[in-house]
């Protein structure tokens, strides 16, 4: 089996490795084995160059000025928005740039959740998240519930890290759920949720839906129109893009009805002494000078994924997951967390008996193998799983089975250091 996987994955990874300058890094003569793309992605030269070129040759204020550089900057910025929107089956007006996924969720929690006009959330209402959410999709809702008197509730997960749909349906049936906030692909257990089906159930129960696609966009085809969630958020730095940029796709009617959240330049039409009127979508939600170079870089990241083909990335990472799930158990005392490969995106969390994940991270790090260790910003989930921390290997298009082999060998060496 190993051989078959090897040839299937090798072609993509070997083809793209040269695009990622960071992979040329060596440490103690060991090549970089980057298995932490779920924390932050590496950027291909195409993206880095787009940012560099923008700052070096185009940079000027957008939207307002009449000179040539300013026109080019505006065209590059709005052109990036259009390509980002098209890639996800959305439109430019419904595609709002934020700093990251976290800010996009907070935008919804404020502009939608706290708007007295749309009357979204109040006492007696339930905000429903799931036990597998990232802190960024929990804490804003805790704060919203604290401020509005609503109740936060959690859809339970099954022991193998899948959403408990009976629990979800029971909670929706109560009729008081105003919002379902759910992750598309979990960053800890790796589960791929059927967010289109979840959205349909929640809508049938009268709830609004926010989907956190931070882990999904980099690794599988996402069509926000087909999913039909009211809000779909993701983050650029995990999707081969630069830091400092995230995206909120929203349902047009909701975005139009919502009050703006941040006030300032660019989001206004007119500013009077006491009151102002708001700009059209999407700018109504983009206050102040935008992250222009970052948007341009994100546009280049989208182009990059489109060129590789996100289905190819998905198939590639799936093959890596299958290979890793076969090889990792060779390490004595290793337990993998989460569902089988068929329900799993490109990442695997695991623990090792007799060694804290922090020490795993330190020791494999010496072999230039980069894995994430800790609570992965999902403390409630860790508590549910009765864990303090895990180690996590996550994949990108440039990973290959040699990376997994390196991890497995390094884990064996780590156990020797610990005399296990």
């Amino acid at each position: 089996m190993t051989e078959v996987v090897s040839s299937a994955t090798a072609s993509l990874a070997q083809r793209v490795r040269g695009d990622f300058p960071i992979l040329a890094q060596r440490q103690n003569d060991k090549r970089l084995v980057y298995l932490d793309s779920a924390a932050t992605g590496q950027k291909p030269r195409q993206v880095i160059d787009a940012v560099d070129d923008f700052l070096s040759n185009v940079n000027a204020p957008i939207h307002r000025s009449t000179y040539n550089l300013a026109e080019r900057s505006t065209a590059l910025f709005e052109g990036a928005r259009e390509r980002v929107a098209a890639f996800l089956g959305s439109t430019a007006e419904q595609t709002i740039f934020t700093r990251n996924a976290t800010e996009a969720i907070n935008l919804v929690a404020h502009a939608w959740g706290r708007d007295p006009g749309t009357g979204a959330i109040g006492p007696g209402d339930v905000v429903l998240v799931t036990e597998m959410e990232h802190h960024s999709n929990i804490v804003p809702w805790q704060m919203l519930c604290r401020d509005t008197g609503a109740t936060l509730d959690y859809v339970q997960i099954t022991p193998d890290g899948m959403l408990d749909l009976d629990d979800l349906n029971a909670k929706l049936a109560a009729g008081n759920v105003k919002l379902l906030a759910v992750v598309h692909v979990s960053n800890v257990v790796g589960t791929i949720n059927d967010v289109a089906a979840l959205t349909a159930s929640a809508h049938a129960a009268g709830a609004t839906v926010l989907v956190d696609g931070s882990q999904a966009v980099p690794q599988l085809p996402v069509d926000v129109a087909a999913i039909d969630a009211d809000f779909y958020v993701w983050t650029g730095h995990k999707a081969y893009g630069p830091t400092g940029i995230g995206v909120l796709h929203g349902r047009r009617e909701l975005l139009e009805r919502m009050r703006p959240w941040l006030g300032g330049g660019d989001m206004i039409k007119t500013v009077g002494w006491d009151e102002s009127t708001w700009n059209d979508l999407p700018w109504k939600f983009e206050a102040g000078t935008s992250a222009v170079a970052e948007a341009v870089g994100l546009g280049a990241a989208i182009d990059y994924m489109r060129e590789i083909g996100v289905e190819n990335i998905q198939a590639h990472e799936h093959a890596l997951v299958e290979y890793a799930m076969a090889r990792l158990p060779e390490v004595p005392g290793l337990s993998m967390i989460g569902p089988g490969a068929e329900h799993r995106g490109g990442l695997i969390s695991f623990t090792l008996e007799g060694m804290h994940p922090h020490d795993i991270g330190e020791l494999v790090g010496r072999d230039n193998v980069c894995v994430r260790t800790g609570h992965h910003c999902a403390q409630p989930l860790m508590r549910k799983l009765d864990l303090v921390a895990t180690a996590r290997a996550s994949f990108a298009c440039f990973n290959d089975i040699d990376d997994i082999d390196a991890l497995v060998e390094s884990l064996h060496r780590a156990r020797e250091v610990f005399e296990l």
Binding site: R64, S65, T66, E71, A75, K269, D280
Partner: protein, 128 residues
């Protein structure tokens, strides 16, 4: 001669036709270009047959937006409201007779936007 600031554009800018206000207009609207802050108001008189009998516009703006309002006003007088409702961006740009760059397009179309606001209530940009 300049490609953009043609003689007739500058003439309309310097001495705009139908600049001012109407007493008791039958229809009116007012809007701004959020990019530059330019404002434009439009007053229309309409007779019992739905024909525009008089037009006046107010506001401050650049040569393109002022010339567009001035030239369009000439055209509007005598036009049926039903026909005015159908006017689109191409009509305005053709009427201006100059190549309008992407940045100046909103200048060229502000008047049409306000006109459509007055006759249909639709406040969106003609390009959308």
């Amino acid at each position: 001669m300049d490609e953009l600031y043609r003689d007739y554009i500058l003439e309309h800018y310097k001495e705009p036709h139908h600049f001012g206000e109407l007493d008791a207009p039958d229809m009116q609207a007012h809007d701004v270009n959020p990019l530059c802050g330019d404002e434009l108001g439009l007053h229309l008189k309409v007779d019992e047959n739905g024909v525009i009998t008089d037009v006046a516009f107010q506001g401050k703006g650049c040569a393109i937006s002022q010339a567009a309002a001035s030239i369009a006003s000439d055209e509007l007088i005598g036009m049926k409201i039903e026909d005015a409702k159908k006017l689109d961006a191409d009509w305005m740009v053709d009427l201006l007779g100059i190549d309008v760059s992407a940045t100046r397009r909103k200048c060229a179309l502000l008047n049409l936007k306000v006109l459509r606001g007055a006759v249909t209530g639709d406040a969106s940009w003609p390009d959308e």
